[in-house]
Each structure stands twice: as structure tokens, then as C-alpha cells.
Amino acid sequence: MIRSDIIKNLIPVISNEFVVCNIGLPSQELHMMDDQPTNFYMLGTMGLSSSIGLGLALAQDKTVISIDGDGSVLTNFGTLPTIANNVADNFILFIVDNGSYGSTGDQPTYAGQKTSLTKVAEACGCENVIECQAEEAVDVMTAAIASKKMTIIVCKCESGNIKVPVITMDPVVIRDRFMRELAAANAE
């Protein structure tokens, strides 16, 4: 299984949740398969999906899922200690770990070699770190949402990409509709 298979399988589980999606192909895949206001697509700024998600989770009560990648977590490694030390139980960090920089042509990352993001997250002090295989992603995500505990999921899968169109939506539209939906959900 590759990243797009995981995202496709996760849609029934995360469709009603607020999702921050990583730059490049992950956002383009989610946008193509299940575009809706509860998705915040990153059009730039590699590495910050987890930071944006943490800020969102700390600021309000609804569950926030950041879909991240191994390459992006490596880019913003400082995020893991910050997450560990600022626990938000409505935050789930889902790292698609395909051992490659998928959006730039599948160059290998260190996470696919000697470096274990699971162990790094644990060493940083993160408490609920779950490593799973792509086939287990739906069950693990379902349990994480139900647990109401901050959870870091490192989902191992194969590298590879499908053809997807770029997102042409205006960034302010993406941000505005996301904020309105989130404010409405919190007002209920």
C-alpha cells in the first residue's frame, strides 16, 4: 500500500474531523478524494503540519488530525519535543512514513534507513506513540480518535504516488471556510 491508499481508506474515519494536511501530494490526494471545509490544505511551508495542528488543538476543543510525512517531520524535528511537552488530548499526529520525500520524486529519507521516528517521538517524551502498518491505519486511527488522548501514529507504507491535480483553490478561501466550520462546530 502507498500513501494514497491509506488516505482513501482513512476518509470514512476522518471525514467528520478537522484535518490539517501536509504540503504537496498528501493535500492534493485528500483534496481530490474528499474535498470539504474541514480540510486545511497546506500549499507551502514544508514541515509545519504538526505545528499548525498543535496550535489548533491547543486553541479549541474539537479533535484535530495532522496528516504529516516522515520527510516533513525530519524537516521540522523540533516539533516532537514541543508536542510532547504541551499535551493536547484532542490532537492526533498521523505520520505517513513511506521512507521517502514523495512529493519531490521519492528520494529516500533517513526515516526509511537507520532512523526510527517512533523511537524519536518516544525519546522526545511523547506518550502515546503507535507504529503500525498501512493495513492497520483505519483501526489505529479509529481507536486514537475514540481515546481522547494525544496520539502520535507512525504508519509505515511503501513509497509511490498516483497522478493528482494541483490545488487551485485560493489559500484565503481554504483558511476561511475551515475557520468558519470549526467555529460553528465549537459553538454547537
Binding site: 499548525i52 496550535g55 486553541a59 504541551n86 465549537n186
Partner: protein
């Protein structure tokens, strides 16, 4: 009231509820006051671009936020300021220690000081420079301006303002 207390009071008055910081010797006093504030959630960042991501999330979650950092961070955060804060049109007050100005004992800090205002101007970031303590009288208006126009705004605070480095 000390200048550090005044800064925090203006943050609170403007409903800033989350502040992320990356330390600088000049900012140690104000960071301590942020940590002590009951009205502000203080979240130290390991790198300034990470902090800007957290602020972006907090804003979308309905909370006003700010970042406190050194001017060297302008070199670190150009991409984040442009592709996140500005591209998605988000407010971000940046209280910045302006290292490398008069009174600076560390020569290397001057290397970034000479680029600081030029970079901010290139990025079209509204920039204010606090040189004397009374300059902080404008902070309240600067914060209101920032949240009015949904832009990152830079407040440079030099060694003279802090009465030493």
C-alpha cells in the same frame, strides 16, 4: 510598571492568549513575564518557523497569538512568513530583539542587524522600531493594527530600548 509588564499588559488587553517564544538575552525579562501570566499560554518553540506554525493554528482555532524572537529569526522564517502567514492572510505580532545595534558587544550580531530592516521591507511587513522606552506607548495601537489588517507585523526592540543588551 516595568516595560516588561507593560508589554504583557498590552498583549492581554488585545486578547492575545497564546505566545510562543525563542529566547534572546534581551528578551529574557519579557519571556519570564509571559511565563508568569495567568492570561497567556506560553509555548516555547525550538525554532521560529515552528512557532509561526503554532500561531497559525491558534489563530484558526479562534485564539490570538504572538511570537517573541530575535532578529536572526528573520533569516530563518522568510519562507514561513511568505507561504503561510501572508499567503493565508493571518495576523502575527512579532516582538523582535534587534540585536547588533548600538551597544552590541557581539560582532556577529551586526551581520544580521544590517539585513533586518531590508528583509522586512522586502517582505512588505509593517515594521516599528522601539529605541526609547516611551516608544512602547505605541504597542497597543500596533497590536490593534496587526489584528485589523491580518498581516505579520514586526516590532524591533534595540539595546537602547532594553537599556543594555
Amino acid at each position: 510598571m516595568s516595560v516588561n509588564d507593560r508589554i504583557v499588559a498590552d498583549f492581554v488587553k488585545n486578547k492575545i492568549e497564546l505566545v510562543t517564544t525563542v529566547p534572546c538575552k534581551q528578551l529574557a525579562g519579557v519571556i519570564e513575564k509571559i511565563e508568569e501570566s495567568k492570561d497567556i499560554y506560553h509555548i516555547p518553540s525550538n525554532k521560529e518557523d515552528e512557532g509561526m506554525g503554532i500561531c497559525a493554528g491558534a489563530y484558526m482555532g479562534g485564539k490570538r497569538s504572538a511570537i517573541i524572537m530575535q532578529n536572526t529569526a528573520i533569516g530563518v522564517t522568510v519562507n514561513t512568513l511568505v507561504t503561510l502567514t501572508q499567503y493565508y492572510r493571518m495576523p502575527l505580532p512579532m516582538l523582535i530583539s534587534y540585536r547588533g545595534e548600538l551597544g552590541e558587544p557581539v560582532a556577529c550580531q551586526v551581520e544580521m542587524a544590517v539585513h533586518t530592516k531590508a528583509l522586512l521591507a522586502q517582505l512588505n511587513i509593517p515594521t516599528y522600531h522601539f529605541h526609547k522606552e516611551d516608544d512602547a506607548d505605541e504597542l497597543d495601537a500596533i497590536l490593534k493594527h496587526c489584528f485589523m489588517c491580518n498581516k505579520p507585523v514586526a516590532i524591533l526592540t534595540d539595546a537602547s530600548f532594553w537599556k543594555g543588551y
